[in-house]
Symmetry: C2
Subunit: 145 residues, 2 copies
DNA sequence: CTGTAGTTGAAAATTATTTTCGATAACTAA
DNA sequence: TTAGTTATCGAAAATAATTTTCAACTACAG
């Protein structure tokens, strides 16, 4: 049994065809996908898949830390399969490819400083980085594509 | 002339009553406000204010770096008057009050490490902290409110 | 003053997301 | 296996957020 299936089962949720299809789409994706994109690609694995189920499943996966929500410029959200232990994403502005990373000591230090500076007690954060992935850097340098 | 008026004028934009009202609302606010909230409070200063103008103005201010967009759980956005030089916000989960801060060395270090780890060339980031402000900490400790 | 853009606000359109509800299917316990 | 319970599904409708359209208006340059 796949690890995500165990997590779902442990949470008292069922392993259904639609959910399998959605997780499979996320697994094969290289970058964050919007619910619409998940629906389109998911139909290949479960032809009757509906948008509502996509929304519900993405929400569920996010709540269980199996997927991560990514904020976009235009206001619509995208989702990424979570890499265990890594909680933030770098996203390529050109091709959309994403990698997750851990906040690490630097982030702890930043949070500590801000707690001192502001007196706030900090309990959570939202961090996303945007840039250009190695592949796209090459393509830009060689003028290709 | 107020600094934001100069910025608008320099950008070739006009200083209008609706805009004055919206900036005034943001100035008097302690935390990020949604377009709806800006509209309600703004009507006190310009009774015919419309929601569309609020959206347009908040967008404009954000583009000119006079306001900052804050992402929320529920998907709807809120806006904060920008403190010059500070680009990120800590937001109180209890009362909504917000303070801006600078990323500083820690954030630079983090970005540097991720560039090395991933090979991405990082050009931008989204960072927000969530926590409890000093006031609310007291209220929680004394069991008040 | 006066002309001309930039700006406004109402209504309508669009887009994102959630709710409702009868039908279906996954797991549980016999 | 075989029910039976109950989570889950998907379509349609509802809601919420945001943008577009367009005729009227007004800030500001000349």
């Amino acid at each position: 049994m796949d690890s995500w299936e165990r997590r779902l089962a442990d949470a008292g949720c069922r392993i259904t065809e639609p959910r399998r299809a959605i997780v499979r789409v996320l697994k094969e994706a290289e970058g964050p996908l919007t619910p619409d994109q998940v629906l389109e690609q998911g139909k290949a694995f479960h032809s009757t898949l509906g948008l509502v189920t996509v929304y519900r499943t993405l929400n569920l996966l996010t709540k269980l830390n199996l997927a991560r929500l990514v904020h976009r410029r235009n206001g619509c959200h995208a989702y990424l399969l979570a890499s265990p232990g890594h909680h933030h994403a770098v996203i390529c502005r050109r091709c959309g490819r994403a990698i997750e990373f851990a906040g690490g000591e630097e982030l702890n230090a930043l949070v500590g400083r801000i707690e001192e500076e502001t007196g706030y007690h900090i309990g959570g954060h939202l961090l996303q980085l945007f840039g250009v992935c190695p592949d796209c850097q090459k393509k830009i340098a060689t003028g290709k594509e």
